[in-house]
């Protein structure tokens, strides 16, 4: 819808032409992802309302807890995370490669198609077509649309990448290229083998776990770290401490991280959880190398001499980095046989996943977006007060929303392991933690709304200014000719 305006944008500003090329497609991707983000936290909040008042949606088949959870998670993962991740990836290819985005109109079409896919998927879940696999809730007809949309966007990304200037290949490219090719692979595998031609028995669960881990841990880490490796040195005005360490993080992540996700004591042959645990434990090297690299680059602190517009993105990305390390540590600890008997089937698992996907990935993307959205319009884009409020709300929301869940999960797990504790007592104790974490959910919702208002407000402001410029230019002739007779 906005695709035509980018062509008519004035070129008098200081916008480098490489960034200008991707304005309209990126605006579509960012704007839609912000809307999905708000909707996702809204429906997530409705889902937790069920714990406060179990009969609240009793007469409405559309709003069962399970459907609300599925919708909220799909909107967040596919509507926000993947969409904003692709937007960031495209921008990084353009920026690092110093080349314009190819086929702006096609990209816009791809973005529109992606949103159509998410919409169809959400409607499908509401109407009862949820697949029954976590992180892959959307039915296969929606998955087809999403896959086509990703192919379009992926081809654009690959062509843009190919056009890069010689000598601009950086370590971020490694991670982003791997992510670019890995998603269609895992997504097609999961959809073909789980929904189109379903395999038999628990093989389905194994593939679903493999997919969920590769999406939430590997893909998010690849894109998040690829973004981080570009932005941390850039924003802090330093050079990345060691490209070699970053390469080690990359290889360990794709070689071992992709093996995780199979819970211990699952009803599958024992070698699967065993291998999965080994793979997950070996990702400790990813955490160590990333921590070392970031710490040496930043000198363990935000430098004081940064301009304000760089401080906030860096704050988001640093928060994301801490969350990455913590979520990674929780992942490793939770994969150990002894610990997993406490943590599996408890709220510890969603807390870990939330820390990885919101605390790390979404926060890193927020940081990136706060940096790169103004470069698309060559001017003031954000309201700094709202942006700061967003950071505070998001950070507090992550901590207040996930910490009680993680603690509650461990308490719940240890009570479940004691058969003398009646199940209803455990439920009662656990619900208390969930209720506390609802406060965090509200903060996140508020933060997301502020982000969306700020982003969409910026876009509207920009286009209004453009229209004024065009209007003035168009009426200038008339005025110059002496105005109305």
């Amino acid at each position: 819808m906005n695709s035509s305006t980018s062509a008519s944008a004035p070129s008098s500003d200081v916008v480098p032409c490489t960034d200008l090329s991707c304005r309209a497609p990126l605006f579509i991707l960012l704007k839609s992802s912000a809307v999905w983000l708000v909707l996702s936290s809204l429906f997530g909040f409705l889902a937790t309302m069920t714990f406060h008042k179990p009969d609240i949606f009793a007469d409405c088949s559309v709003l069962t807890y399970g459907r609300l959870r599925g919708v909220s998670s799909s909107m967040f993962l596919y509507g926000f995370c993947l969409q904003a991740g692709i937007a960031t990836m495209l921008w990084l290819f353009v920026r690092i490669g110093r080349t314009p985005l190819v086929h702006g109109v096609v990209t816009c079409a791809g973005a529109a198609l992606w949103n159509l896919g998410v919409t169809i998927g959400v409607i499908g879940i509401f109407s009862g077509d949820m697949t029954g696999f976590e992180t892959l809730e959307m039915p296969r007809y929606a998955a087809l649309v999403l896959f086509i949309a990703y192919t379009v966007l992926g081809i654009v990304a690959a062509l843009t990448l190919r056009n890069r200037e010689p000598g601009t290949f950086s370590v971020s490219h490694w991670l982003l290229i791997a992510a670019l090719f890995w998603f269609p692979w895992i997504y097609s595998t999961a959809n073909l083998l789980l929904l189109t031609f379903p395999v038999r028995g628990v093989t389905q669960s194994v593939i679903a776990w493999w997919y969920a881990n590769n999406l939430q841990f590997v893909w998010f880490s690849l894109v998040g770290l690829g973004t981080g490796f570009y932005f941390i040195p850039k924003l802090a005005n330093r050079v990345l401490h060691s490209t070699c360490l970053a390469a080690i993080s990359f290889w360990f992540l794709i070689l071992f991280g992709s093996w995780g996700g199979i819970p211990n004591r699952a009803p599958v042959p024992a070698w699967m959880p065993a291998l999965s645990t080994i793979g997950t434990v070996l990702t400790v090297f990813v955490l160590l190398t990333v921590a070392m690299n970031a710490c040496r680059t930043l000198g363990c602190g935000i430098p004081n001499d940064l301009p304000e517009e760089d401080r906030l993105p860096l704050r988001f990305i640093k928060f994301g980095l801490f969350a990455f390390l913590l979520a990674g540590a929780m992942n490793i600890i939770g994969s150990l046989l002894q610990v997993s008997s406490y943590t599996d089937f408890t709220w510890f698992v969603p807390a870990k996943a939330g820390l990885q996907s919101y605390g790390f990935f979404a926060m890193t993307l927020f940081g990136a977006i706060y940096y790169f959205a103004p470069t698309l319009v060559a001017g003031k884009f954000w309201c700094p007060k709202l942006a700061r409020a967003h950071f505070l709300l998001a950070a507090a929301g992550v901590i207040l929303g996930l910490l009680p869940l993680a603690i509650g999960g461990v308490v719940q797990g240890s009570q479940l392991l004691n058969p003398a504790t009646p199940f209803m007592d455990i439920v009662k104790h656990t619900v208390m933690f969930i209720r506390i974490s609802s406060i965090g959910d509200i903060l996140l919702l508020a933060g997301n709304v502020i982000f969306a208002i700020n982003l969409i407000g910026g876009i509207i402001r920009y286009y209004r200014a453009q229209v004024e410029v065009i209007y003035t230019a168009a009426t200038a002739d008339v005025i110059a000719a002496g105005g109305r007779p």
Binding site: P54, R67, G132, E134, T189, S205, W210, V218, F345
Partner: protein, 314 residues
């Protein structure tokens, strides 16, 4: 030299390893799994669900029941049970052996083991302790049977008799193992709660059946009809506190009946070669290895001592 393509290929293979490991190999190993038989009993297992229960599985899937309920009972090791089945002729030696095993037991307790056999001698210790007890009874001329039983808090809660295994899910599609236990595990809920009406009332309003439950009510699966139109045979029998007006009745829709058929069909409990257990010996009542929970042991003759439990893999 340009290493780009080489690095690309290496990354490709690095990622592909996990695809081979967790997609292709499982499909080759457990994707071809076929029906098996129960041990003992030799009945075909698992059987496909009846049509109504299959429709119920769709209701379970569509409403996301798996986001709060798992269907995966975990086993945390095994316990050994040693049952004394015959005293033999050398009572003095046997009493000495019993003293050794039951350290600190009074004479009266020791004497009680000599009558009314079979009796549970030891339960719960490691295999080595159980073996030692078996040996010492054997050398004293007595006879014992050792059972190896699955153990763990989830089994102790009554969520099942054994752990869930791959065979249980052979006919499920999608397989909904679940990752959360907001509510109890449902792998064998059909065994512990087999009353269809209980399930219907529980779905209509969980708090009627379980005090303090946080499960949402699924009232949309039911219809409220005026009694004047004629009493339905399917109407729920609800207590006065259920909040239903006196002139109305609550009739389950087809989805509710299907869902309950599915829930009561969840009975992953048969003893299998991959998940063996012995259903015998409630303490000091009988010594038979009854072939399944659906054949309750009542006044079984205490003479068999030849049957033993198939030993688990480890």
């Amino acid at each position: 030299m340009n290493y780009g393509p080489l690095i690309f290929l290496a990354a490709f293979f690095a990622l592909a390893t996990s695809w081979f490991g967790f997609v292709l190999k499982p499909q080759m190993q457990i994707g071809q799994l076929s029906q098996t038989v129960t041990v003992p009993g030799n009945d075909t297992y698992p059987l496909n669900r009846a049509g109504l229960a299959q429709q119920g599985a769709e209701v379970y899937r569509a409403n996301g029941c798996a986001s709060c309920h798992s269907q995966n009972v975990r086993q945390f090791g095994t316990i050994c049970e040693v049952v004394l089945t015959a005293t033999g002729t050398n009572q003095t030696a046997l009493i000495a052996a019993l003293r050794e095993i039951k350290a600190g037991a009074s004479d009266q307790e020791i004497a009680s083991f000599l009558t009314g056999l079979p009796k549970q001698l030891v339960i719960g210790p490691s295999r080595a302790v159980a073996d030692k007890a078996v040996d010492s009874i054997k050398s004293a001329g007595g006879k014992t049977v050792m059972h190896i039983k699955p153990a763990g808090p989830e089994l102790a809660r009554g969520w099942g008799e054994r752990q869930s295994v791959a065979e249980d899910f052979l006919y499920d599609s999608p397989v909904m193992l679940g990752s959360q236990r907001v509510g109890p595990d449902l792998a064998a809920v059909g065994m512990r709660l087999s009353d269809v009406n209980w399930h219907l009332r529980h779905l209509y309003n969980p708090r009627l059946e379980v005090k303090g439950s946080v499960m949402p009510s699924y009232r949309f699966l039911f219809e409220k009809r005026k009694l004047a139109a004629g009493a339905s045979p399917d109407a729920l029998v609800l207590s006065a506190g259920a909040g239903v007006p006196a002139d109305a009745q609550i009739v389950p829709k087809r989805e509710a009946i299907a869902l309950v058929a599915y829930l009561t069909s969840l009975r992953s409990q048969e003893p299998l070669f991959t998940a063996p257990y012995s259903t015998a010996t409630p303490p000091a009542s009988s010594g038979t290895n009854a072939p399944g929970t659906n054949a309750p042991v009542a006044g079984a003759s205490p003479t068999t001592n030849s049957t033993t439990t198939p030993a688990p893999a480890k």
